[in-house]
């Protein structure tokens, strides 16, 4: 079925379900219950708490003041239950009298670690935290409200130990790389990405097609509307991801979006206005900011005298939720963001419809559907002779001859449509048995165009390229479980099967040499070419799992997953991944000290995998042309019929502790991963007749580290509360083996090791540097930590700060090196002048290796890139109810900033700058090269409930 038809089918399905919505009924002899729900540690009101009358479908939500109103409550004694993700459920009995209003205030325990918290990621069904033997990171909507968020990836940054977000440039629309627990594969950055699920639907986990001339890539994760996220679960390694099988060795991130309920519609509208700005670019010694801040020397410089501008941004969100028997949630958002160099910019819009209904007893169907569109305007940038910043920063030694704005005649536009539709069916035929079926469609349509108009300075006859790409991924995921007490033990048997079908199609058209000015189509060009890509890969597997619980304290889980995959060799067969884990809440024993609230010990060992690339198992040929456009075939892949998945085995152990009545929490994990049968292209001498290397299961990689997360509610009074939190991760990886021809240079080095020129005569005065290749460091951070603090005054005014450190890695300051070669880099100017003047006797070889136009090499410019960045500052004020106009139940004002300040010793422009997006190899993806640094962002928002 063509992708368009699938989308139509998905939309029809969603529409059909929407039409099934029916109004809720109203009871007769009833009373009213009202009250306020607050957090036990801070006393702050809690919004979004579901307050349910047990034994009925009657429920409501609390507003921003924590208040709720239940009309039509049945008379008599009823039990109210308050539930909210991240909090322990709270129940309260009240007596309702017909026609009267009863007040029922509730205080929910907002413990950082709750053993009763339900999680679903990495488990066969849902499980309580106390049953899980591996670590799991949870980010709740509470956390999200407290941080400044400009993209969905911001939701993750600094929020969990071992979760590293690497930005790929400061241009609007540029994406980020997500990494969990470092690097454990030889397959490069693209193989090291975690799987992403949204409401049970697996979505693309990588980047959209590259905006070539912008050296930028938007990432799929950022298609998600951050405001619709209710909760994020993160499992980081093979010990936890076994049930996901092949492709899950880099971890799994699951997004849960908001749901409906609460009866009458509750509206939330928010408006956000703000701007981003880039400060001084490059070395402080250069007052012009590398000609970026001050471009008056360029004949085409904007009238403002700078290439930079404040990029205004605005966002509008509207959501409504309600329903009783059919809880529903609708949301729409629109945002527009100007870039810091005109005409950079992006706008996005999304609409979401989530609802749940029970067509028959014990069967619940939840549907979640979202459509988003992003339009991004890039400018030519990065490693690009036609790029703006390359020509600006190289000053006069460039391609534009002092007319840098000519580069902006090139138009680069991308439109991304993304549709995610999921249907989650649960059936609970008996109290102990449940079945869950997830059906999902992830569809992306992507259009990217590059247009060099006729008369363009670099291609005078003009050129146009149009890239169309579609991805269609289908998820079918079934899991069942059966609980039974046997011999005093609680047993849960689980089973399930998954099928994932991934289809991608792309068409690239290119034309150059137009007859004259005006709008063009590709076929207007003299020279045209076209390329098409088409690929479908399928995978599937099933699992069995047995969990045994003793006294609700000790849980042992044993499981296995069997997988088939399109890309396995014909002689390989089925992959099997085992797991075993144990969780022991030792604090449930009577001997445990009272001040130590909770202590859970846990350990898990499990395997997961990564699939070989398509066609790695078969010898194939590609169609091409030769002899002046005659049909031809050339070798595409040698093929290896034995190839199977690479496997990562992980052992992790740790504990979760809560002390002093929930004031202090600590979550610690140590992990040790070993990736064996690692997929690598077995290098052989080309003199055998081919440069093609066979993909083979030969390598071995070790990856280990530890992580912890702590929270401390230092002060908690009615009028003042102050809490501190933080997380820390340190991890290291190394190549153990690359098979029979292991290069000793690489052995025991990190997978992402960077090599380059090292000066062998560093102190030699007046001598030009001698170089030899040496190890420079890993390309990705090996240590990260984040600190956050929240201060609340009078339960209304909240100040949140979050800063993040990334370090232990190196980055290549490519811009600096290239500029030195062109005699323009202020910190080196004395050396440059001396060398160009012919007398460099006063400088050492190491100084010349950095700063001499003749000798500057990438090696010396590849340096430690540790940095600390103030990621988020947020000031929130909840307006008193009495100030609100009638019909309004809440108003919150927020002033927020992101990436406001950073410190680093790295010598380039921005320690997070990178002009190669999510490139496929470590080297290219660690290089700054004429790209815009990360901007500061300021926003002011108002959120109103009614």
């Amino acid at each position: 079925m063509p992708p368009q038809s699938l989308v139509r089918a998905g939309l029809a399905l969603a529409l059909g379900c929407l039409l099934s919505l029916v109004p809720s009924d109203v009871a007769a002899q009833t009373g009213t219950v009202t009250g306020r729900v607050t957090a036990s540690t801070t006393g702050a009101p809690l919004d979004g708490v579901v307050v349910t009358v047990q034994g009925s479908s009657l429920q409501t939500f609390t507003n921003q003041q924590g208040r709720f109103l239940l009309t039509n409550a049945p008379v008599g004694t009823i039990t109210l239950e308050a539930t909210r993700l991240g909090y322990s459920p709270f129940t309260l009995e009240v007596t309702v009298t017909a026609g009267e209003t009863v007040v029922a205030d509730m205080e929910m325990s907002d413990l950082a670690i709750s053993m009763d918290e339900l999680v679903v990621t990495g488990t066969a069904g849902s499980a309580r935290r106390k049953e899980i033997g591996n670590s799991i990171g949870v980010i709740s909507s509470d956390d999200l409200d407290a941080i400044a968020v400009t993209s969905a990836t911001d939701v993750l940054q600094g929020q969990a130990p071992g979760l590293v977000i690497r930005q790929t440039g400061g241009a609007v629309g540029n994406g980020s790389e997500i990494m969990l627990r470092g690097v454990n594969t030889l397959g490069g950055p693209n193989s090291n990405r975690p799987l992403i699920y949204v409401d049970g639907v697996r979505i693309e986990n990588g980047s959209h097609q590259e905006a070539d001339e912008a050296s930028a890539q938007a990432t799929v994760f950022d298609d998600i509307d951050a405001n619709s996220i209710e909760r994020v679960e993160v499992i980081k390694g093979a010990a936890a991801t076994t049930l996901y099988g092949t492709e899950a060795a880099a971890g799994v991130i699951q997004i849960f979006t908001k749901g409906g309920g609460g009866g009458a519609p509750q509206w939330t509208a928010s408006i956000s206005q703000g701007f981003s700005e880039v400060g001084h670019v490059g070395p402080d010694e250069d007052p012009t900011g590398l000609q970026v801040n001050d471009c008056s020397a360029d004949a085409t410089c904007p009238a403002s005298g700078t290439w930079l501008q404040r990029g205004y941004l605005q966002e509008y969100d509207l959501s409504v939720r309600g329903g009783e028997s059919v809880p529903w949630y609708f949301a729409a958002s629109f945002s527009d963001q100007e870039g810091n160099i005109s005409p950079q910019g992006a706008n996005s819009a999304s609409v979401r419809a989530n609802f749940r209904f029970e067509p028959i007893d014990n069967v619940s169907i939840r549907a979640s559907n979202v459509f988003s569109r992003r339009n991004i305007t890039f400018i030519p940038d990065g490693n690009n002779a036609e790029g703006l910043l390359l020509n600006v920063i190289r000053n006069t030694n460039d391609y534009t001859n002092g007319r840098d704005a000519l580069t902006l005649d090139m138009e680069l536009k991308q439109q991304i449509d993304h549709f995610i539709s999921g249907l989650n069916i649960t059936w609970t035929p008996t109290a102990g048995m449940s079945h869950r079926l997830n059906l999902g469609l992830d569809y992306i349509s992507n259009e990217y165009t590059e247009e060099r108009p006729w008369g363009f300075f670099y291609v005078p006859d003009g050129a146009r390229e149009s890239d169309l790409a579609n991805d269609r991924n289908i998820t079918v995921d079934y899991a069942g479980s059966y609980q039974k007490d046997l011999f005093g033990l609680a047993t849960t048997t689980s089973w399930g099967a998954q099928y994932y079908d991934e289809f991608s199609w792309g068409l690239n058209g290119f034309g150059e040499e137009f007859a004259g000015p005006g709008d063009k189509l590709i076929d207007s060009a003299v020279e045209t070419s076209v390329e098409e890509d088409w690929l479908r890969v399928a995978s599937g597997g099933f699992f069995l799992q047995e969990q045994i619980g003793w006294n609700d304290r000790l849980f042992v889980t044993l499981g296995g997953r069997w997988d088939g995959f399109s890309t396995f060799g014909e002689n390989f067969g089925i992959a099997f991944y085992p797991k075993i884990s144990a969780a022991y809440t030792i604090s449930d024993h009577n001997f445990w000290p009272e001040w130590w609230d909770t202590m859970k010990l846990r350990g898990a060992i499990g395997q997961s995998g990564r699939a070989p690339s398509p066609f790695a198992s078969k010898r194939t040929w590609s169609s091409t042309s030769g002899d002046d456009r005659q049909a031809a075939v050339i070798l595409a892949e040698l093929g290896n019929e034995e190839v199977g998945p690479e496997r990562t085995r992980e052992f992790e152990a740790g504990f979760e502790a809560l002390l002093f009545s929930g004031r202090f929490s600590l979550d610690f994990t140590w992990y040790d991963q070993s990736t064996f049968d690692a997929l690598l292209r077995l290098p052989r001498p080309s003199s055998i007749g081919t440069e093609q290397a066979i993909l083979t299961n030969l390598g071995e990689v070790a990856n280990n580290g530890y992580e912890f997360e702590a929270t401390f509610n230092a002060i908690s009074t009615e009028n003042f509360a102050w809490s501190l939190g933080g997380n820390y991760w340190h991890g290291e990886n190394e190549i153990v083996s690359l098979g029979p021809v292991t290069d000793e240079r690489l052995k025991n080095r990190p997978v992402d090791a960077q090599f380059g020129d090292v000066v062998t005569n560093p102190d030699a005065m007046g001598e030009r540097p001698d170089f030899e290749e040496g190890y420079l460091g890993p390309a990705r951070p090996t240590t990260t930590w984040a600190l956050n603090t929240r201060t609340t005054f009078f339960q209304r005014l909240t100040v949140d700060l979050m800063g993040e450190f990334q370090g232990g890695h190196v980055r290549q300051a490519g811009t600096a090196r290239q500029n030195v070669r062109r005699s323009y880099w202020a910190p080196c100017q004395d050396v440059i002048d001396a060398v160009n003047g012919g007398d460099f006797s006063g400088y050492t070889a190491s100084e010349l290796a950095l700063c001499s136009p003749r000798d500057a090499s990438y090696g010396p410019w590849t340096q430690a890139a540790d940095f600390f960045r103030l990621r988020s500052v947020s000031l929130g004020y909840r307006v008193p109810e009495e100030w609100l106009p009638a019909g309004t139940s809440g108003l919150t004002l927020r002033l927020q900033g992101r990436n406001l300040w950073h410190t680093t010793d790295w010598p380039g422009i921005d320690p997070e700058g990178n002009s190669y997006g999510t490139a496929a190899n470590w080297y290219w993806s660690t290089r700054e090269y004429y790209n815009l640094p990360t901007p500061r962002v300021f926003t002011f928002s108002a959120t109103v409930n009614f």
Binding site: G541, W562, F565, G626, V633, P685, S686, S687, I688
Partner: protein, 431 residues
């Protein structure tokens, strides 16, 4: 829920679950990609042309790369770009890590010939096989690949999947080229002139001037055999790297010194207009853009009558026959509408820069300009021990002794246990 509903739901769930499990045994796990062709599908006589055209494409892959590398490493062009290999090549250093591509691709063309010829032999009757022009063409390509290895690399290595080979003198490549070109003569008929042109150059490289002349004489003046390029799948990088980018410049070169310009080596002085940039991609070298390759789909000559004449001229010069030398040189010049030269007074010797004052200087200049940007210059510098090699400078300060050939690359020596990378780099600045 009624019993009936429950039964229906239970059946539905189990059916779905079993379908997913059963899928593991069926075709739903097959990869689908209409762009990829399975190996067995090529066993069809109708696809022989397609196979050999693919081989032609493989050869084209390295011919333009060799031409680009040789131009910057030799005295043909000044490396004016920002690529890492430009940084090495323009100083006369064929760095071992920067010379993998040509090595890999030339070896692939050799292996591909054996693979295709073996397949074709199985598809055709013996008589058809013997009469096959495509088989003949494949062997010419194989000869060209061997010749390229011999002319470009200081040492050669030949291996197969079961047994990796040792380092061998580059002369072995010329011997292999002779064998391949000779095999081409025993199949078909259409490509015999190309085979003769190849034999002439291979024998000349071996110093067997009698055989070289004998074969060269069978190649007409206007004969040309090409590596083909097209914008779709194999653009000529000589165009991209000089017109789209500014990676090498004719400034300070022999071509750049010709006034008026020699029609065999045309260029544009970018400071006078007509280019997108006046400086090279390195930002400092004045850009004089080559105009021999004018489009991405311009071909590169790999075998020709003009080279056959130059071989005959050189053979005459080696034999001391300046009259014959002059005749052959003027036959080449006539092809380009150039005035004939007078017979030089003496054989003389080579110098840098070229003074055009004797037969060797004339031969040097004529070969330089006639074969400009065809990837052949490095071999001339090496076999003649050209004075340019002793620190000859175009723009950038050179190594004391410039490399006249490329080392066996690190991609080979790092995985071939028969020698070390130092041994593989013998005779170059990487050694």
């Amino acid at each position: 829920m009624t019993m009936n509903q429950r039964r229906m739901l239970r059946r539905g769930v189990w059916t779905l679950g079993l379908a997913v499990l059963a899928a593991g045994c069926g075709d739903i796990f097959d990869i689908e990609n209409p762009g990829e062709i399975l190996d067995a599908d090529l066993n069809d006589p109708d696809l022989i042309n397609v196979l050999i055209t693919g081989l032609s494409s493989d050869v084209s892959d390295f011919v333009d790369n060799v031409a680009f590398d040789v131009a910057r490493l030799s005295d043909e062009m000044a490396g004016s770009g920002s690529y890492a290999d430009t940084g090495y090549f323009r100083t006369g250093w064929a760095e071992q890590g920067e010379v993998n591509g040509n090595w890999d691709q030339a070896h692939e063309a050799i292996w591909m010939t054996e693979l295709h010829v073996g397949r074709i032999e199985g598809l055709l009757e013996a008589s058809e096989f013997q009469a096959s022009d495509q088989v003949s063409r494949a062997y010419v390509f194989k000869g060209v690949a061997h010749r390229t290895l011999g002319e470009t690399y200081c040492q050669v290595v030949y291996s197969n999947a079961e047994e990796y080979g040792p380092l061998q003198p580059r002369g072995v490549a010329f011997d292999s080229a002779v064998v391949a070109f000779t095999q081409a003569l025993s199949f078909g008929s259409e490509h015999h002139t190309a085979a003769r042109a190849g034999l002439a150059s291979a024998y000349a490289a071996k110093g067997d001037w009698a055989q070289a002349v004998s074969n060269a004489q069978q190649v007409p003046d206007d004969f040309e055999w090409y590596a083909y390029y097209d914008i779709n799948d194999n653009a000529n990088i000589l165009y991209d790297e000089t017109h789209d980018r500014a990676e090498m410049s004719a400034i300070n070169t022999l071509a750049g010194s010709m006034s008026p310009q020699d029609p065999r080596a045309p260029f544009t002085k970018c400071e006078e207009g007509g280019c997108s940039t006046t400086n090279g991609a390195d930002g400092v070298t004045t850009m004089w853009r080559q105009e021999k390759v004018l489009d991405e789909d311009d071909e590169i000559i790999i075998l020709s009558g003009k080279e056959a004449r130059l071989i005959e001229a050189e053979a005459a010069l080696v034999a001391g026959n300046l009259g014959e030398f002059t005749t052959q040189i003027n036959r080449v010049r006539a092809l380009y509408g150039l005035d004939p030269i007078a017979e030089p007074a003496s054989a003389g010797s080579l110098e840098f820069p070229n003074a055009w004052d004797d037969a060797w200087s004339i031969l040097d200049g004529e070969r330089h300009l006639t074969l400009w940007l065809e990837g052949r210059r490095l071999w001339d510098l090496d076999r003649w021990d050209h004075p340019f090699l002793d620190g000859g400078q175009i723009v950038w300060e050179p190594e004391v002794r410039r490399d006249s050939c490329m080392p066996v690359p690190d991609g080979e020596c790092s995985v071939n246990p028969n020698f070390t990378c130092s041994e593989a780099a013998a005779g170059t600045n990487s050694g």
